[in-house]
């Protein structure tokens, strides 16, 4: 199944969870301390997010082209959506080739662990927008 049908929704909801994360009083400083500039290169639909954790900024589309990410993750938008619903084992997805990573694996897994408390917020944001079908219809990966 395809969770999103256009990149704007990806930027609104997946981009939104990153904006929440960087602004979070507890989580924001931890993410900033990671020093990570994370590029997420999604396919089907295509979407690109660059998250500058030290600066607490989220860029979408070509807005982040000038930044130099130190971690890049490639995956389908569907997989990213499932991840944020808490239905993807990040390490397993990398090992199985569902996602591809460039950069430090320990940092990627550390970020993945920090993200866990955000899963309910992501689901809530979708339900609040009336997108329950994206939650109830999503598969575990």
């Amino acid at each position: 199944m395809t969770s999103y049908t256009n990149s704007d929704d990806v930027y609104t909801y997946i981009g939104g969870i990153f904006r929440d994360a960087t602004a979070d009083v507890d989580l924001g400083p931890k993410l900033a301390a990671s020093g990570v500039i994370l590029k997420l290169d999604y396919s089907n639909p295509d979407a690109v997010l660059v998250v500058d954790f030290p600066q607490g900024k989220v860029y979408v589309g070509d807005e982040g082209d000038a930044l130099k990410p130190n971690i890049t993750l490639y995956m389908t938008t569907d997989l990213a959506h499932s991840y944020w619903l808490g239905r993807v084992n990040a390490a397993s997805a990398l090992a199985k080739g569902q996602a591809r990573a460039k950069g430090s694996i320990p940092k990627i897994l550390k970020l993945a662990a920090l993200a866990k408390p955000l899963f309910p917020r992501y689901e809530a944001s979708l339900r609040a927008a009336g997108l329950d079908h994206l939650v109830d219809g999503a598969d575990a990966k």
């Binding site: 390490a91 090992a95 080739g97 460039k102 430090s104 694996i105 320990p106």
Partner: protein, 353 residues
């Protein structure tokens, strides 16, 4: 008989010259003196002339890939005779110590590499007219009559190294193999890969001629000038990466590339010469990715008989990668051509037969 002979020696950093040095003599009853007919220039010789390997000084004799005819033997040499045409392992080993019994010749107490300086036993090199060969019964192997010097010389180091990278890398049937560096040793690894039943073999390099040579041998070329090699490798391996990667250059950039293209749970075999390079990833990163690391000094003693047989039966054709056959007198030019990638593989002929 002349008391001196020609030898290729280190000149200023980055260069060699040919000069007259004393002819070697038997020093131990297990020695042989070999009249060199053919000597090859190895990529690791470039590390030496560039002083990457400390301890090598101007005037030191280089060369560790050679074929010749036995001129003289010590009293304790049992299986070799003067007049036999032989290829030498790039390093001697005793054959009866604990390490040798385990086929771990690299850790034999008698380990020395020809022409590689004090860090490797200070054994004189073999790009010469004559060379002293310690532990001749182990170090030398006779060459089948119909086999050319040019084929046999590869079994002393570079072909054995390429083959061992695949063997010790644990290549299995159906694997994807990536070779970082499509120089001579990388090309020979491509040539050997079908013996291991690989599905696909990638050759990564920056030099178009080397990529073409690897392609002609069956590799999928990956031109690192055109983009990140990992994109190409992952795209062609169902997003998994290569099962086994051979790092066949010997520098930090190549190590970084190797770790970027290996799959989770894969193996990196380091067949390039390394000395003081940093790891490209942290220990934790490597552990999390479960990458097996195999540092490899090629082992001709273990593999040369198999390789000679594979050449004899037409399964391997290493001489095809030779681009230039030159006189030992022209070694300075030969090194320069090799260093500047104007030559693929150079063999030097002494004029002796």
């Amino acid at each position: 008989m002349s008391e001196t002979m020609r030898a290729v020696v280190l000149d200023k950093p980055g260069r060699v010259r040919v000069e007259e040095i004393p002819r070697p003599v038997i020093q131990s009853p297990t020695d042989a003196i070999v009249r060199v007919t053919t000597a090859a220039i190895c990529g690791s010789d470039l590390h030496l002339i560039d002083r990457k390997i400390p301890g090598m000084e101007e005037g030191d004799v280089v060369g560790h890939e050679f074929v010749g005819v036995i001129e003289d033997i010590g009293d304790a040499v049992m299986t070799m005779e003067p007049g036999q045409r032989v290829v030498a392992s790039m390093f001697p080993a005793c054959g009866h110590c604990r390490s040798c019994m385990r086929h771990q010749y690299r850790t034999c107490p008698s380990f020395q590499i020809f022409g590689s300086g004090p860090g490797f036993g200070d054994l004189l090199g073999a790009q010469t007219d004559f060379v002293r060969v310690p532990l001749a019964d182990m170090t030398l192997a006779t060459i089948p009559d119909r086999m050319s010097d040019e084929d046999a010389v590869f079994t002393g180091d570079i072909l054995a190294t390429a083959y061992q990278g695949l063997a010790d890398g644990g290549v299995r049937h159906g694997d994807s193999v990536a070779i970082v560096g499509a120089g001579p040793v990388g090309q020979l690894a491509v040539m050997c890969a079908p013996l291991f039943g690989v599905d696909q073999v990638f050759a990564i390099d920056l030099v178009p001629e080397r990529l073409e040579a690897a392609k002609a041998l069956g590799a999928i070329p990956v031109d690192a000038r055109l983009g990140d090699p990992s994109d190409s490798i992952f795209d062609q391996t169902r997003n998994l990466g290569a099962d086994v990667v051979l790092e066949a250059v010997g520098n930090e950039a190549a190590l970084e590339t190797a770790w970027s293209v290996v799959r989770t749970g894969g193996t990196v075999a380091m067949i390039g010469v390394l000395y003081d390079e940093d790891w490209p990833v942290s220990a934790g990163d490597n552990w999390l990715r479960a990458v097996t690391v195999k540092p490899i000094v090629g082992d001709p003693l273990t593999h040369r008989h198999d390789l000679l047989r594979l050449i004899e039966t037409g399964k391997l054709d290493p001489a095809r990668i030779i681009s230039h056959t030159m006189s030992l007198d022209d070694a300075a030019d030969a090194y320069q051509m090799f260093k500047e990638h104007r030559a693929n593989k150079v063999v030097l002929k002494t004029g002796e037969e």
